[in-house]
């Protein structure tokens, strides 16, 4: 991110911040969508993030930390969205669309469906760490620094998220095997 733009925005230059927003919005949205699994809520989280970032930018001391700073705001906006959504989504069954675009046909519909269902059961704190690590490729230490939580907490969250998703995949595989046996019997 352009340091001069951030400094100008920090001093109240709205156009400079608009440039930053245009340059960051897609990436923020992609991350929010991975955490929230919902386009509308991801849009809301990004909008809230941009408004909060604009409002709080004068308080940012280290301009070079802007990227981490705005991702931290985003993750917290996602927590808020997720908690508001959870009571509504509790009984929503995830339906996969046959033929949905996927970059790798090796990932079966059943696998994606199992991951989707498993992921939606995760607490947002675990979802966020999982996405930052596996989607953005951030090391766990960087995630801890960005979110302002101890490294051990991040390790714990990634551990439980991974265990839950692996369990979802294995349960799906067992179901598929049982169904196959029934068909053969």
């Amino acid at each position: 991110m352009d340091r001069a733009l951030i400094e100008a925005a920090r001093s109240g230059d709205e156009e400079a911040f608009a440039s930053i927003a245009r340059g960051s919005a897609d990436r923020l949205f992609a991350v929010a969508h991975r955490i929230l699994r919902d386009v509308g809520r991801a849009e809301d989280a990004v909008q809230q993030t941009l408004v909060t970032a604009w409002r709080e930018l004068p308080g940012l001391r280290e301009v070079e930390r802007f990227d981490a700073w705005i991702h931290r705001i985003l993750v917290h906006a996602c927590y808020t969205e997720a908690r508001q959504a959870r009571r509504w989504a509790a009984n929503v069954r995830v339906l996969s669309i046959e033929g949905a675009t996927t970059p790798d046909t090796a990932l079966s519909l059943a696998t994606r469906d199992a991951l989707e269902r498993g992921f939606r059961r995760l607490p947002p704190e675990q979802s966020a760490v999982f996405v930052l690590h596996h989607y953005l490729g951030w090391p766990l230490g960087e995630i801890a620094a960005t979110l302002g939580v101890p490294l051990g907490t991040v390790k714990s969250r990634i551990h439980y998220a991974t265990a839950s998703l692996r369990a979802a995949l294995e349960a799906d595989a067992r179901t598929a095997t049982a169904a196959s046996r029934e068909r053969m019997a």
């Binding site: 949205f29 849009e43 909008q47 408004v51 808020t80 596996h134 302002g148």
Partner: protein, 294 residues
């Protein structure tokens, strides 16, 4: 499935999905930004060491008197009704000449020797406090600063921009509509929360700033409540911090209008809080000095 297989599967799954924010959503954010004021950056603390020695001495002596006066200011209607057993207000020790800035979250300063500290950037209202030994503090961000007694027997928080939950005992989301912007609006909303025992909000003046003081006490048991893992929730801050109660917890609140910003000073005490810890809470509250917001 091996670890590598799982990681590859997770990456492929996460890569599959939308990656562009709609122009409509971006424009809506920019429209809101256009009508949103940036937060004011607090001016630097006045440092006593910038003054000549005679003035410094005079201020040092005056500080003792000032602390006693502020302590009195924190007494609604002349009596301390904060969390914990009633205690006689006592002046704090003379503040150290240079306030030490509390660190930004996640770092925490642990006070081994009594000293004077300043809550500062990014928290927008500069506040100085004198902390006795055994306390820890940090600035959580632009909306909160925290002081905690080691062992968890007592805590003090400075917060802004609370979103109030509708019912601490049940997951019913936030009050809708949220309280209005005044001190009275927030005091009325908090006093009206179901399930909590609330004192009548009293007029109070703290360091020259007017406000309301009330105390909320949680019931001794949360049986019958439908709680999430966040517990018996009372409010949430814009960046996600949730304030909640444990059974029997008391929260004394000072809701102050600081140059148009609604600052909430809250002290938490618990059934197991000792008289010594309550006394320390009172000592800290009595030392609070709020700098003007510029």
């Amino acid at each position: 499935m091996t670890e590598n297989d799982f990681d590859r599967t997770a990456r492929l799954w996460l890569d599959d999905g939308p990656t562009a924010l709609s122009d409509r959503a971006l424009q809506a954010a920019l429209d809101e930004i256009h009508v949103t004021r940036q937060r004011r950056v607090p001016r630097p603390m006045r440092r006593v060491f910038d003054m000549n020695p005679s003035i410094r001495l005079a201020i040092g002596a005056a500080a003792v008197v000032l602390v006693a006066v502020i302590g009195f200011n924190f007494l609604p209607s002349g009596s301390w009704v904060g969390g914990g057993p009633a205690a006689t207000p006592t002046p704090t020790s003379t503040p150290t000449p240079t306030p030490i800035a509390l660190p930004r979250d996640p770092q925490t300063v642990v006070v081994s020797e009594p000293g004077t500290y300043v809550i500062d950037d990014p928290f927008p209202i500069p506040v100085t406090i004198s902390l006795p030994a055994g306390w820890a503090g940090k600035v959580g961000g632009p909306y909160a600063a925290y002081l905690d007694k080691a062992g968890g027997g007592a805590a003090i928080a400075f917060t802004l921009s609370q979103s109030i939950y509708a019912d601490p005992c049940n997951v019913r989301g936030f009050l809708d509509p949220q309280p209005g912007p005044t001190v009275d609006d927030l005091a009325i909303a908090l006093a009206g929360l179901p399930g909590l025992d609330a004192t009548t909000a009293a007029d109070v003046t703290v360091d020259g700033y007017r406000g309301k003081q009330l105390t909320l006490t949680a019931p001794d048991t949360f049986d019958g409540c439908t709680l999430t893992r966040d517990g018996y929730r009372i409010w949430q801050l814009p960046l996600g911090a949730i304030f909640s109660f444990t059974p029997g917890q008391r929260m004394a609140l000072w809701i102050l209008d600081v140059d148009g910003e609604r600052l909430v000073v809250s002290s938490d005490t618990f059934p197991a809080t000792t008289a010594q810890e309550s006394s320390e809470v009172q000592e800290i509250l009595g030392s609070i000095r709020i700098e003007p917001v510029t």
